[in-house]
């Protein structure tokens, strides 16, 4: 992890500008799932996106990888705007942009063998013509993720969760993509397996310089894997910066609340810290609060917070924060 490196240096691999995704909720209402988020991601680095459940992390990831159509904004990947390409034009970019899914039980087709699952990207991008030729790619990949070649003919339902997730990772990495979007890749796994999978992903990054967009709600894990961290609340990024900065000097009240809600193993320390965490429930993303979206739950809310939307400002060393308290 590099210290205090300027986030905006060099041409980013992925740049997201004002990305917005609304879902129709019927009765002319819209869910503001992703609301004008912007960030840059340099090659070979890891950006962690954290936030409560329902804050739009996964929607952002799925919009970036173009499973969802963006409502507004730009996704600039490898120097090209891919936000309005049709699926045919996207295909060469798909080769360089893969995704690891949250639930390893749902993300593998139960009617396919592990070989067919891992070979699918190879077939889709014409790297091999027939399934039989895929073995020379699939077998080394299986070994790499810690499975054996004899697993190739098994069906996904015969594996444990950790093994399945490793199959999912093998599928995502077999094309050696530049960018891998990890949508909570370990939250469905046992704690003992989580470290295994995380270290597997880190090994790949070291070997191949893969870039990760890492989505998670486990804050300690995000700190471990990420170079930079973005904190999302109700579809917006409220704070962003180098991960040590964010964890040691959280600027936004939401980040502070989020970090103070990390459980502490020592009960003495935990008692001293009592009163931490965030009060209240997350407001509905159909009618997000005006002004700063966090003002309904913020302990430091001022009148201006309910009126004006705070802008992202650099509060030093590339640490961005959107809060009126920083003015």
């Amino acid at each position: 992890m590099t210290e205090n490196k300027n986030i905006s240096a060099g041409t980013p691999l992925l740049e997201v500008k004002d990305l917005t995704r609304y879902f129709d909720a019927g009765y002319k209402m819209q869910v503001h799932a992703v609301d004008h988020i912007s960030f840059k991601l340099q090659k070979g680095r890891t950006l962690g996106l954290v936030g409560e459940s329902g804050c739009g992390k996964s929607s952002a990831a799925r919009t970036i990888i173009r499973i969802y159509e963006p409502t507004q904004g730009q996704i600039i990947f490898m120097g090209t705007d891919i936000s309005h390409m049709n699926q045919k034009m996207l295909k060469p970019y798909r080769k360089n942009m893969q995704m690891i899914f949250q639930d390893p039980y749902a993300s593998l087709n139960a009617r396919m063998t592990v070989r067919d699952i891992i070979a699918e990207p190879l077939l889709a991008h014409g790297i091999v013509r027939r399934k039989e030729e895929a073995n020379e790619y699939v077998y080394p990949m299986l070994e790499k993720v810690g499975l054996t070649t004899e697993h190739a003919n098994r069906y996904a339902h015969e594996f444990s969760g950790g093994q399945r997730q490793r199959v999912g990772i093998a599928r995502a990495l077999i094309l050696h993509p530049q960018l891998v979007i990890c949508d909570e890749p370990i939250s469905a796994l046992d704690v003992s397996i989580q470290a295994q999978v995380i270290n597997l992903l880190r090994d790949f990054q070291e070997e191949e310089g893969t870039t990760y967009l890492f989505i998670a709600h486990d804050l300690s894990m995000v700190r471990y894997v990420s170079d930079e961290v973005g904190v999302m609340y109700l579809g917006q990024i409220v704070e962003m910066g180098v991960s040590d900065d964010i964890y040691q000097h959280p600027a936004h009240p939401y980040t502070q609340g989020l970090l103070s809600s990390i459980p502490i193993a020592n009960p003495k320390l935990a008692r001293e810290k009592e009163g931490g965490g965030i009060k209240g429930d997350i407001p509905s993303p159909i009618n997000p609060p005006a002004g700063c979206r966090f003002h309904t739950r913020c302990p430091y809310a001022k009148p201006i917070c309910a009126e004006q939307t705070p802008q992202m400002k650099d509060i030093g060393g590339g640490h961005l924060c959107a809060c009126h308290l920083m003015d």
């Binding site: 893969q98 995704m99 087709n109 009617r111 396919m112 699918e120 990207p121 889709a124 069906y155 999912g168």
Partner: protein, 383 residues
């Protein structure tokens, strides 16, 4: 491996070993299917019926159309009178003739009529030179000696020439049943084939495309399914003439709508699943997503729907046959046989009983198989 609890080395082969027996999905389904007695019974009945329909006609001396007016409406179990010489039996046919029946139950020829003695309500026949009288003064009719008026002793024998009897035109019911079952099974398999091809493709595309395309395609399905099938079949028959071809075309053009609905519903829910999203992020073509990811995962509901549609298609054909708009005579189908049988239901109930029994057997068998498949394909019931 004796000590399962010991530490394994990282290079050990057993490290990532899966201890469960390696069984493919199909093997799993078959395992659960054969442990359900009704399902297995259904499958066996279907196999036997298929054998009966396909190979049966090779073993009979009759054809579905061969008529023998001497032996009209002969039941499988006959009430017969023993002749004076004790070498044969005599059977009174429905049109007041005497039929020679051998001791082991084979039908011979009709006796020659000598004269009519209407004063004594008798018809006199000639049996090997001796005269025998058919007395029709009161029911049941009797066979007696015309001179001494001694009634011949009566007994019952199984009909060995026509095991299930003959119909009103003297045709063998067993043979006609074979051909009728054949028609039913042909109808069933055509219905299934059309179901699978049109239904899956239509439903799959409709569900995967979604949006307006889905709306339009499903409204078309709604329109098709609201046309009463009987009316529709009659219209097609007017156009193409009656016969098996018209029935198959009628069933084929209409029966896929249920399948399309089922597949569409399944695809709609499946396409939001992670593995389909994963295929899309990979960049797999739509064809791959539809036929490698979506359709195989709907296979359970597809198979169940198909096996449930078979009895309904068979019943529809029988029903049309019964209404008299099915096959053209002398072709036999279970429905037309039932229809023919209703004319002399009171005197010859067996003519209705056997085709009805076969219909019931087919329906039960396919329904049981469908039930069994549904349970076997549901992985939640996995043991």
């Amino acid at each position: 491996m004796e000590n399962k609890w010991g530490k394994l080395k990282a290079t050990n082969e057993d490290r990532e070993k899966i201890w469960k027996k390696n069984r493919t999905f199909a093997g799993d389904v078959w395992f659960r299917f054969r442990h359900k007695p009704t399902a297995l019974a259904g499958l066996i009945i279907i196999a036997l019926l298929m054998f009966f329909a396909v190979f049966g006609p090779n073993f009979t001396d009759y054809s579905y159309s061969k008529q023998n007016l001497d032996v009209v409406n002969v039941p499988p179990r006959m009430r017969v009178y023993e002749t004076a010489d004790g070498e044969a039996y005599l059977y009174i046919t429905q049109n007041m003739k005497l039929l020679e029946v051998s001791k082991d139950g084979h039908l011979g020829s009709q006796l020659e009529k000598v004269r009519e003695d209407s004063g004594r309500y008798m018809t006199i026949f000639d049996y090997k030179g001796t005269e025998v009288a058919l007395y029709y003064g009161q029911k049941p009719y009797l066979v007696a000696d015309p001179e001494t008026l001694v009634i011949y002793p009566h007994t019952t024998v199984w009909n060995h020439s026509y095991l299930l009897g003959t119909d009103s035109l003297g045709r063998d019911i067993l043979t006609r049943l074979m051909y009728g079952t054949r028609v039913s099974l042909v109808v069933a398999f055509v219905a299934v084939a059309v179901n699978l091809i049109i239904g899956i493709a239509y439903g799959g595309i409709s569900g995967y495309a979604g949006g307006n395309a889905d709306q339009v395609m499903m409204r078309i399905v709604d329109i098709i399914s609201t046309i009463p099938l009987t009316l529709y079949v009659i219209l097609i028959m007017v156009l193409l003439g009656s016969g098996l071809k018209s029935i198959i075309i009628a069933l084929g053009t209409v029966y896929w709508v249920d399948m399309a609905r089922v597949v569409r519903g399944q695809v709609l829910s499946l396409k939001q699943q992670d593995f389909v999203l994963a295929a899309r992020t990979i960049g797999s073509p739509t064809k791959t997503i539809l036929f490698q990811h979506l359709v195989p995962n709907c296979m359970g509901s597809i198979l169940v729907t198909a096996t449930m549609l078979i009895p309904s298609a068979i019943f529809m054909e029988a029903f049309l046959g019964f209404l008299g708009i099915g096959l053209r005579p002398p072709l036999a189908s279970l429905g037309t046989m039932c229809n023919d049988a209703t004319e002399n239901l009171r005197t010859c109930p067996y003519q209705l009983f056997f085709p009805a029994l076969v219909i019931v057997l087919i329906m039960f068998a396919f329904n049981f198989v469908g039930d069994g498949l549904r349970d076997a394909l549901d992985p939640k019931l996995k043991k």
